[in-house]
């Protein structure tokens, strides 16, 4: 089922149980993101940005409403099928990099391909690491890399699975401005080159500015959706 819509949510609501009562984190969110769009989800801490990202990326299921990823209703799928979809459509970049410490940079980037059984995983991974400027760091372990380098490996890993949508959670949150800019450039460069849809959560205004649209959140609701002038 092909569509131009990459992501669509309908009346998405998410509540979690707390000791006292149920806490509504996301409340009746309906929105859509088109293929090739770059969207920044912004808002204050605790506004529900990361939760929204997690739900539309299929990392969790919402309590109520629907989330459609390329026409697949994630709310109706079990974890097995959602994982399949993630492998097929989705790539991630996280604030704290989340590289596997026991794997070298190259092995980390190879992993998504290997999980899919791609025989060509090594060559592709090497190419992506070259594209993020880390061809001289292939055999280094995460602990031997700087924060900026680690995040570039993470970017390479995210693009290595040729995702249709790339989700990034505060990708520059742990980086200084110079490294932050380098990673941002890479994200947008590869995004453009590969025609990927980019959804990111950020506090970084300049990063948000570079996106084609900004979704502002507050108290679990979208309060504003601004397109680029």
């Amino acid at each position: 089922m092909k569509t131009n819509l990459a992501i669509k949510t309908q009346n998405l609501t998410h509540t979690v149980k707390t000791a006292a009562d149920d806490l509504t984190i996301l409340n009746d969110i309906s929105m859509s993101i088109e293929e090739g769009e770059s969207v920044a989800i912004v808002g204050a801490s605790g506004s529900g940005k990361s939760t929204l990202l997690g739900l539309i990326a299929g990392l969790d299921v919402c309590s109520d409403g629907d989330v459609l990823l390329y026409g697949h209703n994630l709310s109706k799928l079990d974890e097995e099928k959602r994982a399949d979809l993630r492998g097929q459509y989705v790539g991630f970049v996280f604030q704290s990099f989340h590289l596997l410490p026991s794997l070298t940079a190259l092995e980390n980037v190879m992993l998504p391909g290997e999980l899919k059984g791609d025989k060509d995983a090594k060559r592709k991974a090497t190419e992506f690491l070259e594209q993020v400027g880390l061809e001289h760091r292939l055999q280094h372990y995460p602990r031997q890399l700087s924060g900026g380098e680690q995040q570039r490996v993470a970017v390479a890993r995210a693009f290595a699975s040729s995702p249709k949508v790339l989700f990034a959670d505060e990708p520059t949150g742990n980086l200084d401005s110079e490294n932050g800019k380098m990673v941002t450039d890479l994200l947008f460069g590869l995004n453009e080159k590969q025609g990927t849809t980019l959804v990111l959560v950020t506090h970084d205004a300049s990063l948000a500015q570079r996106c084609s649209r900004q979704i502002m959140m507050s108290s679990g609701k979208i309060i504003e959706s601004l397109g680029k002038e």
Binding site: L59, A83, G87, Q88, F94, H98, T104, P112, L115, S161
Partner: protein, 820 residues
């Protein structure tokens, strides 16, 4: 295969290695100890078979039937026969009542005769018994008869030539009450002597040797078919001294092995929990990359299977090597060759590996299957790793492992109960200590305050760690206690100068003369006990004959006439368990085991027939007796007022060293009616067993203590991340290295010290239980433990903690915080 590829990559990271090492440690410890103990046990069986002169014996009051012999042959068992009887032996100078045995040429099937060609010589081994026409007589018999090698003596209707002096008859060592001087002839000469007539008191033995299966088959066939007067003897039913020694040795080894199993369990549980904890985020990340739960399960389970195969394989190999090394070091110490280890015993190591994974690793690992990929965004969504359910599974696994290992429920139940009680004690004591420490030193100015505050803040984690440290220290201390106290007690009971000869049939008038002879030769004589024969005929007024009609079920106490004695003081190898003992008590004292067999208790009345007179006596005390002490001991001790009216023989035991044997034997020739029984061989065997067990325990101890250090290390490292983070934070806030070092020292030192104190307490209580209930020794206090426990706890845990945490002092805090 991706799982293999990932596993190989992960090995560099260390977590897989930690788990693998723990598995290798568990499997090799259990395998090594089990194989070695099995070898020792086989060696004990061989040693006791030597004393039985065969693997199994059928003893009978009537001639052994053909059926018995045929069936043995059908099973492929080797057979020999021995006929024992008393008879006069005549020489030109005199005659002497002797204990004779007639043996087939291939007797003994196990062990060997010791003979000499010089009177009272020390002896050399010969494999087969005397040939037709020959007789071997003991030096004592030769002295009494005034004959020597080459002389003829007459037994019944036939003349036989003395070929050797008999020093030791392997099959008779353990039979404690064979009285007269011995001689041995060939079975073919027996008929010619014509001494065995209808009504003669003769004991026939059919000796069997062969493989265990055939022997078991024979046993299964014969035991339900035993005729009246027939007995089935196994090495275990041999002399009481050696059996209790072997039983005690096996208990020691089993205990040591069980402690090792517990230690292995702790090591596996720790390593598994670290492995799984470190994989939480990794699994979540892999899930975001599109790995399905099925794929994750497949990956993790394949990896676990590989770890199991490699770890168990290497563990088995290492275990095999370890026991070989132990055996080699023992062989050089004891100049004995242990029987080879059996490959079939490796299954226990495999079960250990499998059970370790199932109980400690798999339940934790399965929680990883359910890790939400959302964990990468919200660490709060992590799965709960510590839950009651997991503890129950782990403890059940440990329990089952011990049950498999010990083959019984008692020791595992005691151990689990002990662990549980230690856990409760730690909950209470540890909580109190940490709380108190915090109250006494509030603030964050000194290392003391920071350290104690940390202890209190991570209360649950620290209590868990305290439990692990305490268990390890407790296990180590118990083993040290067993080695230094229990085994020494045992050795003390059977010192180098333990009595090695019994003297029987000594008349009252001869006691002083023999004591004087012994004094002159500086031979120590233990106490003389008067002995009167009597038989228990009634229990609580009921005739014993009516109570037990079937012969094979007849309890020991009722089965025969026994030796009764009186004594005003309890012998040192006896322990009064219940009631009163002493000169004023007008009742009888009974040995614990025979009392237990019939269910007798204090206040029950026994009817005892002595010299045709019946006496009704209440049981006024119950004693335990250490049968391995080799001193005269009695099932029943009666009041002097009753026994002193009867003529008594006296019995005692003496230690005669090699140099004095000949002189003493020669002097004893003046007392032809006195009987001597040499139990030196038996004692030597027991001393050998003690030495073997002692060495084995020492090596097991070394092994366990080495693994303890590894486990401690793993445990400290498992909790390190949080501590490092805190240290790094403190340093960014300007804390000096000294302050941080001090606070870590306080934290780890306090943990180690507390674990040492509680561990010493737990070990002291456990040893008390072991001494009193398992090994039946007098309880003793172990002051060394109270020093050793807290001191080693403090030193070892501090050193490991400071060493593991040294990066917090050397690595720049920024890098430290980033890497966490």
């Amino acid at each position: 295969m991706l799982a293999v590829k990932l596993l190989i990559r992960e090995i560099r990271n260390g977590d897989v290695l930690t788990l693998l090492f723990a598995l290798i440690l568990s499997v090799s410890t259990v395998t090594g100890i089990d194989l070695f103990v099995d070898r020792l046990q086989t060696s004990f069986t061989i040693q006791s078979a030597t004393l039985l002169a065969a693997d199994r014996v059928v003893r009978s009051n009537t001639a052994i039937t053909n059926e018995r012999m045929e069936y043995a042959k059908e099973q492929g068992l080797e057979t020999a026969q021995k006929t024992s009887f008393s008879s006069m032996v005549f020489s030109n100078e005199g005659l002497q009542l002797s204990q004779l045995s007639a043996v087939t040429g291939n007797y003994p099937l196990r062990g060997s005769y010791l003979v000499d060609d010089d009177l009272f010589g020390a002896g050399y081994s010969v494999e087969d018994g005397p040939s037709e026409g020959d007789i071997w007589v003991s030096s004592r018999l030769a002295s009494l008869l005034g004959v020597g090698i080459g002389d003829a003596v007459q037994v019944g209707e036939t003349d036989l030539t003395i070929r050797h002096y008999l020093v030791r008859d392997p099959g008779s060592t353990g039979s404690a009450f064979a009285i007269a001087p011995r001689a041995v002839i060939n079975q073919d000469d027996l008929l010619k002597t014509q001494v065995i007539q209808p009504g003669s008191r003769v004991r026939y033995s059919l000796l069997l040797a062969g493989n265990e299966d055939a022997l078991n088959q024979y046993e299964a066939w014969i035991t339900p078919n035993l005729e009246k007067g027939e007995r089935w003897r196994t090495p275990k039913s041999g002399g009481q001294g050696i059996n209790s020694a072997i039983e005690r040795a096996e208990s020691f080894l089993l205990l040591a092995g069980t402690l090792a199993v517990v230690m292995s369990g702790v090591a596996m549980a720790l390593a598994s929990s670290r492995y799984v904890r470190r994989h939480l985020t990794q699994v979540a990340v892999i899930k975001t990359l599109g790995a399905t739960p099925k794929k994750i399960a497949q990956l993790l389970l394949s990896q676990l299977a590989i770890i199991f195969l490699v770890g168990t394989g290497l563990g088995l190999l290492l275990g095999w090597l370890i026991q070989e090394v132990i055996a080699l070091s023992l062989a050089s110490l004891l100049s004995t060759v242990l029987p080879a280890a059996s490959i079939s015993n490796l299954w226990l190591g495999m079960v250990t590996g499998l059970m370790s994974l199932f109980a400690f690793c798999l339940p934790l690992l399965m929680r990883l299957f359910d890790v939400s990929p959302l964990t990468v965004l919200h660490p709060a969504g992590k799965v709960q790793l510590k839950s009651l359910q997991l503890y129950i599974i782990a403890l059940t696994g440990m329990y089952l492992l011990m049950v498999v290992y010990t083959g019984g429920l008692l020791l595992p139940s005691i151990m689990i109960a002990a662990i549980f009680m230690v856990a409760v004690a730690i909950g209470i004591i540890g909580y109190g200590l940490f709380k108190l420490g915090r109250v006494l030193t509030s603030g964050a100015v000194s290392g003391w305050q920071i350290g104690l505050a940390s202890l209190h803040r991570r209360l649950m984690g620290n209590l868990f760690q305290l439990l692990v440290f305490t268990l390890i220290i407790m296990l180590g201390l118990i083993l040290i206690g067993v080695k230094s106290s229990l085994i020494s007690d045992w050795q003390r009971q059977l010192p180098v100068d333990a009595p090695n000869h019994y003297l029987f049939n000594v008349q009252e008038g001869e006691v002083k003369q023999i004591s004087d002879i012994a004094d002159n030769l500086q031979i120590p004589v233990s106490e003389w006990y008067p002995m009167v024969r009597g038989r228990v005929v009634q229990i609580n007024g009921q005739d014993a004959d009516l109570l037990y009609t079937s012969d094979d079920k007849e309890p020991e106490l009722l089965s025969r006439e026994m030796n009764l004695t009186w004594s005003n003081e309890l012998a040192e190898d006896n322990v009064l368990l219940e009631g009163e003992f002493g000169g004023n008590v007008n009742g009888l004292s009974i040995e614990e085991e025979v009392a237990k067999e019939i269910g007798l208790k204090i206040g029950d009345t026994l009817g005892v027939k002595i010299g045709g007179l019946d006496y009704q006596l209440p049981i006024t005390s119950i004693r335990s007796v250490d049968w391995s002490s080799m001193r005269p001991n009695f099932y029943l001790i009666l009041p002097q007022s009753i026994l002193s009216d009867f003529p008594a023989n006296y019995v005692s035991s003496v230690f005669i060293d090699k140099d004095n044997v000949q002189s003493f034997y020669k002097k004893m020739a003046d007392f032809p009616t006195v009987s001597m029984l040499n139990v030196g061989d038996l004692i030597q065997q027991i001393q050998l067993i003690i030495a073997q067990v002692s060495q084995a325990i020492q090596l097991v101890l070394f092994f366990i203590l080495s693994s303890a250090v590894l486990v401690l290390n793993a445990s400290v490292r498992a909790s390190l991340d949080e501590r490092l983070e805190e240290g790094a934070l403190l340093r960014t806030l300007g804390a000096s290295k000294t302050l941080i070092r001090q606070s870590m020292l306080v934290e780890f030192g306090f943990l180690g010290f507390s674990a040492g104190v509680i561990g010493a307490l737990a070990a002291e209580l456990s040893l008390f239980g072991l001494q009193v209930f398992v090994f039946e020794l007098a309880p003793s206090f172990h002051p060394l433990m109270w020093f050793l426990g807290p001191m080693t706890g403090f030193v070892v845990v501090s050193i490991i903690g400071l060493y593991a945490g040294k990066s917090v002092l050397t690595v720049p805090p920024m890098r430290m915080l980033r890497s966490l």
